[in-house]
């Protein structure tokens, strides 16, 4: 018995906590919807939450781990949504599963991911030359270009699909009661891909590029490869989210995927803490839930208040989480300390040093960001490489 207990203790539970939490929640809701019928508002909320988690986790790969600001995530999603819509329309016309079965989903998911990934590669190319806010505006530009082009696209294929410009495209909707189960599977898939990438040597290379690109290059890391890898994987996952979106709606309309949507996803990533997958999951869930609650509880004349409440929550949380002046306060009152307090004082679990893992080098927390300026002489100027003569940084 003790042996089993020890074995359980030795497992790095920290690495699996996301899977376990998502799996349990997903399982509970799946059983509920398959046995007793869940109310539609719950299934819709679960669909939106899972969609936003996939988007937030995939964006956190670029913003949190690669350290590039991207304002065009909705553009990749838009491509995925149109790809998914086209596939399911074709399947419907060919009488395969009425265009809304699991097979359709898998096929369109693969195609959506590939197409969005190709565009991710194209957007990743300028990222090799541009940094920071310049790259941010290029990604924003990409998202708007995709939106504008699809908004004006009139394309009808007989016995296939029909894209009607500003009206968008009508697509079959997946079963309302069970679609969110697929959503949970997608969340698990996304978290699996991102976490394993970050924990691998590729992930360490990606975070090294974030912390200091030149130092990373000097250490022999192939910056080009890893930057592109980050963009392509993130875009492909956003494409999958887009396919999921097209299955959760009766219409796919390009105007939905504007920069405001990208910013909404960015807010989830930043609020969850940069480079923190669990944080992105929690904040995506919380923001979606708060928005839905505000939308349905503030009706009529009170509707104008919901943006104010949302904005205030946003500003207060960001200041609380990030303000250097509140550091002391933050260290005294936070979730982790609260959990520790419950563990030690309430549950009386003793702190066992033998179970302490290599937490400091855990994938999700890069302990210190080495300021190379402090290490090396500040006057040291790198001779610009011949490959990238215009390489610069503000």
């Amino acid at each position: 018995m003790a042996k089993i207990w020890n074995a359980i203790c030795k497992v790095k539970w920290k690495h699996f906590v996301n899977y376990i939490a998502i799996g349990i929640v997903g399982l509970i809701f799946s059983i509920m919807t398959l046995t007793t019928k869940l109310p539609m508002s719950t299934t819709v909320l679960l669909e939106t939450i899972t969609l936003n988690i996939v988007l937030a986790v995939s964006l956190s790969l670029v913003v949190g781990f690669l350290g590039e600001l991207s304002l065009g995530h909705a553009g990749f999603m838009c491509i995925g949504a149109y790809a998914g819509g086209i596939i399911s329309c074709i399947f419907k016309e060919s009488n395969i599963e009425e265009g809304k079965g699991i097979l359709t989903f898998i096929v369109s998911m693969i195609i959506g991911a590939v197409v969005a990934g190709i565009f991710g590669f194209l957007v990743g190319l300028p990222a090799l030359r541009l940094k920071g806010d310049y790259l941010a505006i290029v990604t924003l530009a990409f998202g708007e270009i995709v939106k504008t082009v699809l908004e004006n696209l009139d394309l009808k294929v007989e016995n296939g699909f029909n894209i009607r410009g500003a009206l968008g495209m009508r697509t079959p909707r997946f079963d309302k009661e069970t679609l969110f189960i697929i959503g949970f599977v997608l969340v698990l898939l996304t978290v699996f891909i991102v976490q394993n990438l970050i924990r691998s040597k590729h992930g360490r290379a990606i975070t090294a590029i974030r912390d200091n690109e030149i130092a990373a290059k000097a250490s022999g890391i192939n910056v080009t490869k890893y930057k592109l890898m980050g963009f392509v994987i993130s875009a492909a996952l956003a494409g999958i989210a887009g396919v999921y979106f097209s299955f959760a709606n009766y219409n796919v309309k390009a105007s939905v995927f504007d920069y405001n949507y990208s910013i909404e996803i960015l807010i989830m990533v930043v609020l969850g803490g940069m480079g923190n997958v669990s944080g992105a999951i929690i904040s995506a869930t919380a923001i979606t839930w708060i928005n839905t609650e505000l939308q349905t509880s503030l009706t009529g004349e009170l509707a104008v208040l919901k943006d104010i409440i949302y904005a205030l929550i946003l500003v207060i949380i960001i200041i609380y989480n990030n303000a250097p002046g509140l550091k002391f306060f933050r260290e005294r009152f936070n979730l982790r300390r609260g959990i520790d307090w419950i563990k030690h004082k309430v549950l009386r679990i003793k702190h066992d040093a033998s179970h302490e893992k290599d937490d400091e080098s855990a994938w999700d927390r890069v302990p210190t960001k080495i300021e190379m300026n402090e290490v090396l002489s500040t006057d040291f100027v790198v001779v610009e490489s011949t490959q990238n003569p215009d390489k610069e940084e503000k």
Binding site: P39, M40, S41, V44, L45, T48, T148, E151, N152, G165, A166, L167, R170, R173, K176, A248, N249, Y250, N251, K253, S255, V256, T292, Q295, T296, L298, T299, G300, E301, A303, V304, K306, D307
Partner: protein
């Protein structure tokens, strides 16, 4: 100019929709069981403490399109308060109106729909705008919930037989406008000014272009999003004699102001129902515009007489400060039409009550509205009705509305 607003009944055209039957889609209504004259009062879902019949709606209350949703909300509340004074006696129950905000965003409407249904809404006004309406109609079709939309004018909205429109469908407006052009503006140079990312505007424009006589010289200009600087578009259209603008009144007023000295002084601005309200824009004096401003619509928010004039007075006296436009007038008519339809059903011997389920209400209402004996008189549509100053409104089986459209001349050209 003496009259700030000249109302001319130049055209009274029954919007005939027979030619558009092809848009109606596949569903056949005959599958519905005939509920007229039967007893449908009991329903398990709603027996638990339902005190009123709830009418729900989803529309933009914030964001750039908020002005349309706010007008709908106020007008629907006015109608409900008026009906409640008499409904308890006539029908045995009263109504309650619930409106949720969708910001004119199709992504938010699914949640609104679910929330409305779970709050016990039995009858809906659908959505205020077409984009979210395309989502809403699918869900309402799945659950068999009745929709009578005030202003979602997309051709696809009434596809399934459970949804009806109070406004004219986009394609009808486009075709009717083109017919008017073919008859009245022969040989003139026609300009089209439309919003390229808006389904309402592109929908009308496409129908208009295809129905317009090929002999016309047509010049097009477009804008998108929240753009407001129209100097280029004015320059493109400056030589046109008639400018067709199937857009809402906010950008239209911006265009007219930008073009008041550039566009031909004797040109005619010709819009659709979106142009209603252009003379109420604060700070925009239509008399400084030399050109003629007119539109084909079902409501005149400057009316002073008839049923419409009285409605406007009541609306302005009612609590809340949303400006009236045709969206609000249509919503007012929607609520009254629902009430009249229920009265009609009761007179036919159908029994129902405040606990009747949304699906049963849908069966009743979707049979009453297109019923040949049912006729509704409202504030939208041409105010004639043989001198009664009321309009005649009826519905077709495919959900399109039949009423008389009027070409309103907001302002004549300066002499």
């Amino acid at each position: 100019m003496k009259f700030t607003r000249i109302l001319a009944l130049v055209l009274a055209l029954v919007m005939c929709c027979g030619m558009l039957a092809s848009c109606g889609g596949g569903d056949d209504n005959t599958a519905n069981k005939n509920v007229l004259g039967t007893n449908v009062s009991a329903s398990d879902e709603f027996t638990a403490g339902n005190k009123v019949v709830k009418i729900g709606c989803s529309g933009p209350l914030t964001g750039p399109a908020a002005v349309y949703g706010l007008s709908v909300e106020k007008a629907a509340k006015l109608a409900v308060s008026e009906i409640n004074a008499i409904a308890a006696e006539e029908l045995g129950f009263t109504f309650q109106f619930i409106m949720l905000d969708d910001k004119h965003d199709p992504m938010l409407v699914t949640n609104n729909y679910a929330s409305l249904i779970e709050q016990g809404v039995q009858i809906t006004l659908g959505t205020v705008t077409t984009g979210p309406g395309l989502e809403f109609k699918e869900y309402s079709h799945d659950d068999n919930v009745f929709v009578l939309t005030p202003s979602a004018s997309g051709d696809d909205i009434p596809e399934y037989g459970n949804a009806f429109q109070m406004c004219f469908a986009d394609s009808n407006q486009g075709t009717a406008s083109a017919q008017y052009f073919n008859e009245n503006y022969v040989g003139k140079k026609v300009g089209i000014f439309y919003k390229s990312d808006d389904d309402y505007s592109t929908g009308i424009t496409n129908k208009f272009k295809s129905a317009l006589d090929k002999s016309f010289t047509v010049v097009e200009a477009s804008f998108k999003g929240e753009e407001s600087n129209f100097a280029t578009q004015v320059n493109t259209l400056k030589d046109c004699d008639v400018i067709f603008m199937p857009i809402y009144y906010t950008p239209a007023s911006q265009f007219m102001l930008a073009g008041k000295n550039t566009v031909k002084a004797n040109a005619i601005y010709y819009g659709c129902d979106g142009l209603d309200g252009i003379d109420a824009v604060e700070g925009f004096d239509i008399n400084t515009i030399p050109q003629e401003i007119s539109y084909l619509s079902h409501f005149n928010s400057g009316a002073t007489e008839g049923e419409a004039g009285e409605f406007i007075a009541r609306y302005n006296a009612f609590e809340g400060d949303a400006t009236l436009n045709q969206f609000g007038a249509a919503a007012y008519d929607c609520v009254w039409a629902i009430y009249e339809a229920l009265k009609f059903a009761k007179a036919k011997g159908t029994t129902f009550g405040k606990t009747t389920s949304s699906s049963n209400f849908c069966d009743i209402l979707s049979q009453v509205l297109p019923h040949e004996e049912f006729q509704f008189h409202g504030v939208t549509g041409a105010q004639t009705n043989g001198g009664l100053n009321k309009s005649d409104i009826s519905w077709q089986k495919n959900g399109f509305v039949n009423k008389e459209a009027v070409k309103y001349i907001v302002k004549e050209a300066n002499k």
